[in-house]
């Protein structure tokens, strides 16, 4: 989608056009949902988080200054909604136990993937958040630092640890 189309859709959405918002949403829906599933460890919670993020985003879209930033803006909203979901389950900063999760079977399922999913769920929620933000959304450490109210150095350190953790988990 070109930047002009996005700009136009954002403008319409700001005027309350739900269809325009829907079109914008579609460009990021798969990524949002995938992030939420991995982050919350549950398809039901992911569904709730994404729905809430969508409602909030539509209400707040007038605050979106740069249409080009729609994607990262949606992500930042979803991040908070996922945190809320996790908090409500009193699972914040705690490991989601694998048996409690119900990540749906993917269309393509590789054994490697299953291992990665399991490993992901053994990370702390904050680690998972940074890791998924970096991997799925391609944020750099500065952007992640702004999103998570942290320092770039800290983010880099955490990401490095996360990577090491994953590496050892995947070896097991």
């Amino acid at each position: 989608m070109s930047s002009n189309v996005i700009k136009d859709l954002v403008k319409k959405a700001k005027d309350g056009d739900t269809a325009a918002f829907g079109a914008l949403y579609t460009t990021v829906a798969a990524d949002l949902y995938r992030f939420a599933v991995f982050q919350t460890g549950s398809s039901a919670r992911a569904e709730d988080a994404v729905s809430e993020a969508v409602l909030l985003a539509f209400q707040k879209i007038r605050n979106l200054e740069k249409p080009q930033a729609f994607r990262s803006w949606m992500f930042s909203i979803l991040l908070n909604c996922c945190r809320k979901e996790l908090r409500e389950k009193k699972a914040q900063l705690q490991t989601v136990l694998p048996e409690e999760t119900d990540i749906p079977a993917a269309a393509v399922d590789l054994s490697e993937n299953a291992a990665l999913k399991q490993a992901l769920l053994q990370l702390g929620a904050d680690e998972r958040e940074l890791f998924l933000g970096a991997v799925l959304f391609g944020y750099n450490s500065k952007e992640l630092a702004e999103l998570t109210h942290s320092k770039p150095g800290t983010v880099r350190a955490k990401l490095f640890r996360t990577k090491e953790k994953l590496r050892s988990l995947l070896k097991e």
């Binding site: 739900t18 829907g22 829906a29 969508v54 450490s141």
Partner: protein, 742 residues
């Protein structure tokens, strides 16, 4: 940090998980859901979910424009020579790999070859190629990082005439100045205060506000050369009658899906903001209502940081070359490529494509050339003294048992003359400019390293000589703790660490070769920022917590009695619950008036309903006096609005004489310092005037707002009761500010 191909693999794996969207989340259902939600939303004027998203979005989008105001009396003059009483110069220790020497390219051809080799290596990297090759090629074609504007282009037609008459400052003394790291080095900030006028920068605008008439006497919005470019000013400096405005020039030409892969050589290179340059505008403001542009300078790369020593402005930007496009290999300053002999590189066979570009501009001599130095490798932190600028760069050392190192490069500054002086490496990550300090001939740093084999944090302090060799070390002084904040006060370092026992350490540095722990005090939570209040008192601003976890939803103020460094004591604490302050991550937001011994910090309260849902943010500027080693006279200057619809990119406070001012990008409010009564309000950003008015409308009757929000009275006598969280809105009470009629 090196780019890690493992992430590409993970991304590939995760993206294979083609989860079908649940029906509820398909486009049509989402649109329907939004339609259903609409009437309710309109009724409530979108005030239902106030600031949560705005705040999140602001955090996500906001350009890092943070900082601010204090008054600085040099409490501890750092001019005392460190005693090398041991008369012998300490010998270098071998604690890390040899300092990374910097080399230069013999010719431009060599530099071209360097990048071409990188391009070839990356092309050959099949992991990246398979996944990202197509995208990379695509963006390489569309990537335009040419120098974007020249001096003439940024000249605003309205700003040409020189002023003829001169205003006098209300030079009656005491006003808030930017809280800087070094007393003789100024730091740019989004607000400045010169004792009469207030200056703010936000987005592409800068404003000058006369506090005597409480009017905006000038608002400048320089036009970029091209239509889809925009400025984001983040740094102001005021030196007498000169105003320096600088910030990043964003180029909107790269649409969002033109993500540029492969050039960022730190952290995650997948996503890069639009190609950008940094613009510096120097104005003569002898007539504050008619600033005259004296000079405009453009340098490639996004604004990293800047400092001002005397009249000379040092600007550091980060520029990323595209190894696939020759015209981007070398950054430009004012349209001219940096000469090859001004470019340093650590590893001429390496993979770094990011530059730091350092320039020196004499603001008092508009005709004088801008001097430049450049270093291939990027930066993570800048620390500047009056004669040396240190660039710190974090490194990941995977082959070593210890995971991190920080490279330090020292550039000597003499007016606009820049020269590479020395380079060195310390183990671990040196977090910010407060964790590094030059004292006499020695440089002291605190760092946190991590041993991933044992999963243990290692906090250490190192002393380096002029050649940046480590001559003294206090390794692992706090087992499995991370350094959270550091303040060097002459021969003593105060360090707060966090993890298990969260102590404040006092470390003796009088013998550079043998740093040793003098004393420590254990406290709950940790400080993110330490500020000396007097010779014997140190203030910590941070978070509360227990043995295991920190509570990040609060502000904890701690006073430490350091009169006996062997036995530091926490003499008073105050916790502001459910609140956040910019001081946590940006010490420029902290203001200290050493004459009155009063400090101020911007506070934002999360407004929660009974379900603990976030309903908005309430801005309050708080000041505390420090008397007899304890907090006293807590005062709250209310910004007002509890509704979260309008959000501001910054919220700061400062003072002039007996008046306190709170500032956001769109409004200034003036208060009587003693009574906290609001005197005047100025909404100076016309573009958002409507929203600002709406946001400020509520506070026309402060008392009501206060009452509704269940806040304590405006002036809070300091006592135990006042430690109660002021802004938890309970839905069970009769009033709900978040749903009141607009």
């Amino acid at each position: 940090m090196k780019k890690d191909p493992a992430f590409d693999e993970y991304k590939k794996l995760l993206e294979q998980e083609a989860f079908p969207l649940p029906e509820k989340l398909t486009e049509s259902c989402v649109v329907e859901m939004l339609e259903n939600a609409k009437p309710q939303q309109e009724k409530k004027k979108i005030k239902l979910f106030p600031r949560i998203v705005a705040a999140a979005a602001a955090a996500a989008i906001a350009i890092t424009a943070v900082q601010m105001i204090p008054w600085q009396k040099t409490i501890h003059t750092t001019t005392v020579e460190p005693t090398t009483s041991q008369s012998e110069t300490p010998k270098p220790l071998k604690l890390s790999k040899a300092a990374a020497p910097l080399s230069q390219f013999d010719s431009r051809d060599d530099l071209d070859t360097y990048f071409k080799n990188i391009a070839a290596r990356r092309e050959a990297d099949s992991r990246i190629d398979g996944m990202f090759g197509a995208l990379r090629k695509k963006s390489a074609d569309g990537f335009a990082a040419e120098s974007v504007a020249d001096s003439a282009a940024v000249t605003n037609g309205a700003l040409t005439a020189y002023a003829t008459e001169k205003d006098f400052f209300a030079a009656n003394g005491n006003y808030g100045k930017t809280n800087t790291r070094s007393a003789d080095v100024d730091e740019g900030d989004v607000i400045k205060n010169d004792g009469r006028y207030l200056y703010t920068a936000s987005g592409g605008k800068f404003s000058i506000i006369d506090t005597q008439t409480m009017q905006c006497v000038f608002q400048g919005e320089p036009e970029p050369e091209k239509e889809n470019q925009m400025y984001a000013f983040s740094s102001l400096y005021v030196q007498g009658d000169r105003l320096v405005v600088s910030g990043t020039l964003y180029d909107g030409q790269n649409p969002i899906d033109d993500v540029y892969y492969g050039v960022r050589d730190y952290a995650f290179p997948y996503y890069d903001v639009m190609a950008s340059a940094t613009v510096t505008l120097v104005y003569d403001i002898a007539d504050r209502s008619r600033p005259a542009l004296l000079r405009a300078a453009v340098q490639d790369g996004g604004m990293e940081s800047s400092r001002m020593v005397g009249d000379v402005l040092y600007t550091v930007t980060t520029y990323y070359a595209n190894e696939n496009k020759k015209s981007t290999y070398v950054p430009s300053v004012n349209g001219k490529e940096i000469p090859c002999d001004c470019i340093y590189v650590k590893d001429p066979k390496g993979d770094a494509t990011g530059y730091i570009v350092l320039t020196a501009l004499d603001t008092a001599q508009p005709k004088k050339e801008i001097e430049t130095l450049s270093l291939l490798g990027g930066s993570d932190c800048i620390y500047c003294t009056a004669d040396t600028l240190y660039v710190l760069r974090h490194q990941c050392l995977e082959e070593d048992a210890l995971a991190y190192a920080t490279e330090i490069y020292a550039f000597s500054l003499q007016g606009t003359d820049l020269a590479l002086q020395s380079s060195g490496t310390v183990p671990g990550i040196v977090e910010d400019q407060y964790a590094i300090d030059r004292f006499g001939d020695y440089l002291r740093v605190t760092s946190t390293d991590y041993d991933y084999q044992t999963d243990v944090d290692i906090s250490s302090l190192y002393v380096l000589n002029k050649k940046l060799e480590i001559v003294g070390a206090l390794k692992d002084f706090a087992p499995d703790e991370q350094v959270k904040s550091t303040r060097f006060l002459g021969k003593t370092a105060y360090v707060v660490t966090f993890r298990n026992t969260d102590p404040l350490f006092a470390i003796d540095l009088s013998d550079p070769a043998k740093p040793s722990i003098l004393g420590k005090v254990k406290l709950p939570g940790f400080s993110e920022y330490l500020h000396p209040i007097s010779d014997t008192l140190l203030l910590g601003v941070g978070y509360d917590g227990d043995e295991q976890n920190a509570n990040y939803d609060c502000i904890k103020l701690s006073l430490f009695d350091i009169s006996d460094p062997k036995n530091p004591k926490e003499t008073d604490t105050h916790i502001i619950k459910q609140a956040q302050s910019d001081v946590h991550f940006d010490p420029r937001a902290f203001v200290f008036d050493s004459v009155r011994s009063v400090f101020g910090l911007p506070v934002s309260y999360s407004i929660l309903d009974s379900n603990r849902n976030w309903r908005g943010t309430n801005y309050v500027y708080k000041t505390f006096a420090v008397k007899n080693g304890a907090f006293a006279d807590e005062k709250a200057y209310l910004r007002g609005s509890v509704d979260g619809y309008h959000y501001d990119t910054f919220f700061r406070g400062t003072y002039i004489g007996e008046r306190v001012y709170t500032l956001t990008e769109s409004a200034v409010q003036e208060f009587d310092m003693e009574s906290c009564k609001k005197i005047r309000t100025l909404i100076y950003d016309e573009d958002s005037a409507e929203e600002s008015e709406a946001a400020l409308a509520d506070d026309l009757s402060e008392d009501q707002v206060l009452e509704k929000a269940k806040k304590p009275p405006v002036t809070i006598p300091y006592n135990a009761e006042s430690k109660v969280a002021p802004v938890l809105i309970d839905d069970t009470t009769t009033t709900q500010p978040t749903t009141q009629a607009p």
